[in-house]
């Protein structure tokens, strides 16, 4: 029940982001990263709340992203990163923007950084690894991509043993 509610919620949220059909080479981040990650985590989010200034910038970036203005969106996330340079949410959002820009190397790099500075568990961990997987796939690293898919699944049941 909770699960289906969260999916509905996500589809609702994603509505604005999927208005314009994305070009073929641009991954549909909602379909390949955000929705499955949310599904896996059953809507449970483990990261802490951000400061209001960062939240505001993130909201603006989401609007820009929804309108297909990826350059503006990444500029806004960059501003937020100046305030919270290691916020895993921001880093992951940047990774997802880069994915939509087909800048796969940067998508990969930001997702890795998000994972390393993040909780390494739960929804954001899943988004990290799904992004890494898509990026690796596009960078012709098929085995790495499959590996990352596996890691995405582990986000939900394995606590990293070390810090």
């Amino acid at each position: 029940m909770i699960r289906s509610a969260s999916i509905l919620m996500l589809l609702f949220l994603a509505g604005c982001a999927t208005q314009a059909p994305a070009p073929v080479e641009r991954p549909d981040v909602d379909a390949v990263v955000r929705e499955p990650a949310s599904e896996d985590s059953e809507g449970v989010q483990v990261y802490s709340l951000q400061n209001p200034a960062v939240k505001q910038l993130v909201a603006q970036a989401k609007t820009a992203e929804g309108a297909g203005n990826l350059d503006q969106a990444s500029g806004l996330i960059e501003r937020a990163l100046r305030i919270e340079p290691q916020d895993p949410q921001l880093l992951q959002q940047m990774a997802e923007i880069k994915l939509q820009e087909s800048d796969f190397q940067q998508a990969l790099n930001f997702a890795v950084r998000s994972y390393e500075s993040g909780p390494r568990v739960g929804e954001i961990c899943s988004r990290n690894w799904r992004t890494i997987s898509v990026a690796r796939e596009s960078l012709q690293n098929t085995s790495g991509a499959a590996d990352a898919q596996e890691r995405a699944k582990q986000c939900m049941n394995v606590r990293p043993k070390k810090l």
Binding site: D71, Q86, N109, P119
Partner: protein, 802 residues
């Protein structure tokens, strides 16, 4: 209108043609037969007539081509008129939000740099008031790199160097974020050194357009370039007064004088001016001429840069866009047309005020202001800012870096002519602290007996973004004949050693931070056949020690021992990975820093380490816009992660120990704080160069001190550069180094001397980070007694929430 101009032009062309034909005829007449028996009187008359004809012929023969030449000049220059516009360089905008860390001193410095004036109340944009730790700021409207934001009044409190209670409107409270419009830190001027901001006639205040005509040229709409009546009236007035009190020049003539001619006062120039004015009126509309005038007229001087046009003059004197000027401001500018330096409101405020009020009276007498409006305006102060906001950069070394980054994408000519808006990463307050740290730091070193001619460079970079916040290339502020931060290529000495240890730690099966190594005499054959036997700084060999102690105490022999196992070629490869493209010699001495690098290259190298291996190419420019605020280029944040980031994390820990107990252990005393800082000193042969590189969680800075002639300077890393570095960081908010370990590494209690696991509370037990599976297998007796609860203090400190 256009048609009319064309037909006029044709007429002129026709006239010219007839003139040309005539030139032949008079000579023919002169050659005609002369009657005999004429009186002396007649012959005199005839001779006079001949002379007149000759002169007329000369006038036509020389005059017509001259007019044609002037005509060509007027048309070709005016048709293709396109002023070169200086590019404007902006600092980074200061973001203010609850929790933002900024001292009162820094906030005041930022406001000052951005041209804000302190006032009793922040009643208009560009002003602020401060009461204790409460700030009331009226931000100007500004087009930021990602869009325009309107003027905005907001308030905040500073509580212990943190912003709190940011507010002023519901929107501000909801957003929780305000950006200050940035300081304009420099202009990149056209080669003619003219400074202007273009304005279109339709954007010009009506009062300026009508007022200008009321004061300078009431017949502007009707005359054809010159106004003989005005000239006559002016001459009469001047004769009566016995000096020049009135000018009879029309706006067109003034434009011609400014645009085409030099300023010498000869009769020839006056004639040229008149002819060119007529020609200009013939070919162009009044609108075109007026718009050109508004942008061309000389209105002031800033250093070697001439302020042209009302657009820039408005910013230069009032720090406001033209459209925001009030009657008294416009009257002052209009009055200054008569003599921009004579009526300079900053230098001669009384004279300027008198002139302004005179102009306001003329506005009233011609009916473009009511009597009351003029009286009200005359009651106002001049409203001129105490100093212009920009001009030649106070930060030439940084602007130098900006130009070098831009030159990759823009022609130098474009930077000097296209009026680009350049958004940079400079933090004005931090730049000021950096310059002061260098200037006073070197004075202080001279007091301590070091050479008075010492020079220095200082580069301050934001760790995570790679944005250059400050750059100093000379001990004197504003001087930049040699930008040492970018161009001083000097041996780096021990500053390179961390890379040797990083390479060792990357071989995690061979090395961890406590792997036993030996500091002992070592001799190596160089490629040229000579034998190299490096010594330690204290000329003592220190024997066995854990790996990290070789770095912490910067022992040369230990480092060469490790380095020879690693291989010099790998060190060179590592430098390359870190973005150092300089040629590096493949000799063992490279392991000890016999490598010449510039301070900015060293900053790039350490940014990568400070960011935990998330290398970011250093940036000084984030975006470039057209004068209208359209984005041309954005330079986004790009992450270039190094491999083996777990080894980088281990190295970062070792570098904090350099400050805790190694060669930089005086740093805490210099700073007067105990925050966790990572750093490395560097000294070169015969004490020619002093380096210190240090970083906190947020900022990494490189300081270099030495002599320009590369002579022995009696400097060491800790006695010179570290003091300069500390002078800067004393002013910056503290932030301890981030020692969270990445996936696959963690802190463990060990006894390095025994190379064994230990426990908290055991003798000689210390916490050291290890890559998983690389910690010693052996255990101390104490460990056996206490069990395996060896989760370290560091783990607890940096532990994530479970």
């Amino acid at each position: 209108m256009v048609k009319k101009v064309k037909s006029k032009a044709k007429k002129v062309a026709g006239k010219k043609d007839t003139g040309k034909n005539k030139t032949g005829k008079p000579t023919g007449i002169k050659k005609g037969p002369v009657k005999k028996g004429v009186s002396q009187k007649r012959s005199l008359f005839k001779r006079l007539f001949r002379l007149c004809m000759l002169l007329a012929g000369l006038a036509i023969g020389l005059g017509v081509p001259w007019v044609m030449y002037l005509n060509m000049q007027v048309q070709s220059e005016f048709d293709g008129r396109k002023w070169d516009l200086p590019s404007r360089v902006f600092a980074r905008p200061l973001s203010l939000y609850d929790g933002a860390e900024i001292s009162k001193q820094s906030l005041l410095a930022e406001l000052d740099a951005a041209g804000y004036e302190k006032a009793a109340s922040a009643a208009s944009s560009g002003h602020f008031s401060v009461n204790g730790n409460h700030f009331d700021i009226y931000r100007r409207g500004f087009t930021f790199e990602d869009g325009a934001e309107p003027a905005l009044r907001f308030q905040l409190d500073l509580v212990g160097s943190r912003v709190s209670a940011l507010g002023g409107s519901e929107e501000i409270t909801a957003n929780g974020l305000v950006r200050l419009d940035p300081a304009e830190i420099a202009s990149i001027y056209p080669t003619d050194d003219e400074d202007r901001k273009l304005i279109a006639l339709q954007d010009t205040p009506e009062l300026l357009v009508t007022g200008l005509q009321a004061v300078e040229d009431r017949q502007f709409k009707h005359h054809h370039g010159i106004a003989p009546k005005s000239i006559a009236r002016a001459m009469l007035a001047n004769i009566r007064a016995g000096r020049t009190v009135q000018g009879g020049s029309t706006l067109t003539q003034q434009l011609v004088k400014n645009y085409f001619l030099t300023s010498d006062r000869t009769i020839i120039r006056k004639i040229n001016e008149a002819i060119m004015s007529l020609l200009l009126e013939l070919h162009y509309s009044k609108t075109e001429i007026l718009e050109a005038y508004l942008n061309e007229i000389f209105l002031g001087q800033q250093g070697k840069h001439a302020i042209h046009g009302f657009g820039r003059a408005s910013e230069f004197y009032f720090d406001k866009p033209l459209k925001d000027l009030n009657a008294q401001h416009i009257a002052l500018l209009v009055g200054m047309v008569r003599g921009a330096s004579y009526y300079n409101p900053r230098r001669n405020p009384d004279r300027a005020l008198g002139r302004r009020n005179q102009v306001l009276d003329m506005f009233a007498s011609t009916g473009i202001l009511t009597e009351q409006q003029a009286i009200d305006a005359k009651a106002q102060p001049l409203g001129v800012t105490s100093k212009p906001r920009s001009g030649d950069s106070r930060f030439p070394a940084f602007v130098d870096l900006v130009k070098r980054q831009l030159i990759r994408d823009y022609h130098a000519d474009d930077l000097r002519s296209e009026g680009l808006r350049i958004f940079t990463t400079l933090a004005p307050s931090e730049q000021e602290y950096a310059q002061t740290a260098v200037s006073t730091g070197l004075d202080d070193l001279a007091q301590r007996g070091l050479p008075a001619e010492l020079q220095a460079a200082l580069v301050l970079v934001d760790v995570a973004s790679g944005e250059v916040r400050a750059l100093v290339g000379d001990r004197s502020e504003g001087r930049n004949y040699f930008n040492r931060a970018l161009d001083a290529r000097r041996q780096v000495g021990s500053v390179i050693k961390p890379l040797v240890y990083l390479l060792a730690l990357e071989r995690s099966s061979d090395y961890n931070l406590i792997t036993p190594i030996v500091d002992e005499p070592i001799s190596l054959r160089q490629p040229d056949g000579s034998v190299w036997s490096p010594e330690n700084y204290d000329h003592i060999s220190h024997g066995g020690m854990p790996l990290m102690d070789g770095l912490i105490h910067s022992y040369n022999q230990a480092t060469v021992g490790v380095g020879m196992n690693i291989g010099v070629a790998n060190l060179i490869r590592k430098l390359d990975q870190l973005g150092i493209n300089s040629q590096v010699p493949a000799v063992p001495a490279t392991l000890l820093g016999a490598v010449e690098l510039t301070p900015i290259e060293v900053a790039q190298m350490y940014q990568s380490l400070a960011a935990g291996g998330y290398s970011v190419p250093l940036r000084s420019v984030t975006a470039v816009q057209t004068p209208q605020g359209e984005l041309l280029n954005r330079y986004p944040l790009r992450l270039m992660p190094l491999d083996n980031r777990d080894a980088v994390a281990l190295l970062n820990f070792a570098l904090t120990q350099v400050v805790e107990r190694g060669t930089a252990k005086n740093l805490h005393a210099l700073l007067g704080s105990n925050e966790l800082i990572a750093g490395k000193t560097g000294t070169t042969n015969e004490q020619r160069d002093s380096w210190f590189v240090g970083y906190t969680r947020e900022r990494v800075a490189v300081a270099w001190v030495g002599l320009d002639d590369n002579g022995p300077a009696r400097v060491t890393g800790s006695n010179a550069a570290m003091r300069v570095w500390a002078g800067l960081f004393k002013q910056l908010p503290p932030s301890s180094v981030d020692l969270r370990m990445p996936d696959g590494a963690g802190f463990i209690w060990v006894d390095p001397a025994e190379y064994a696991l230990s426990s908290e509370g055991c003798n000689d037990a210390v916490q050291v980070p290890f890559i998983d599976g690389t910690a010693p297998q052996a255990v101390t007796d104490c460990y056996k007694r206490q069990g395996d609860d060896n989760k370290s203090f560091w783990s607890k400190l940096f532990e994530r929430d479970e």
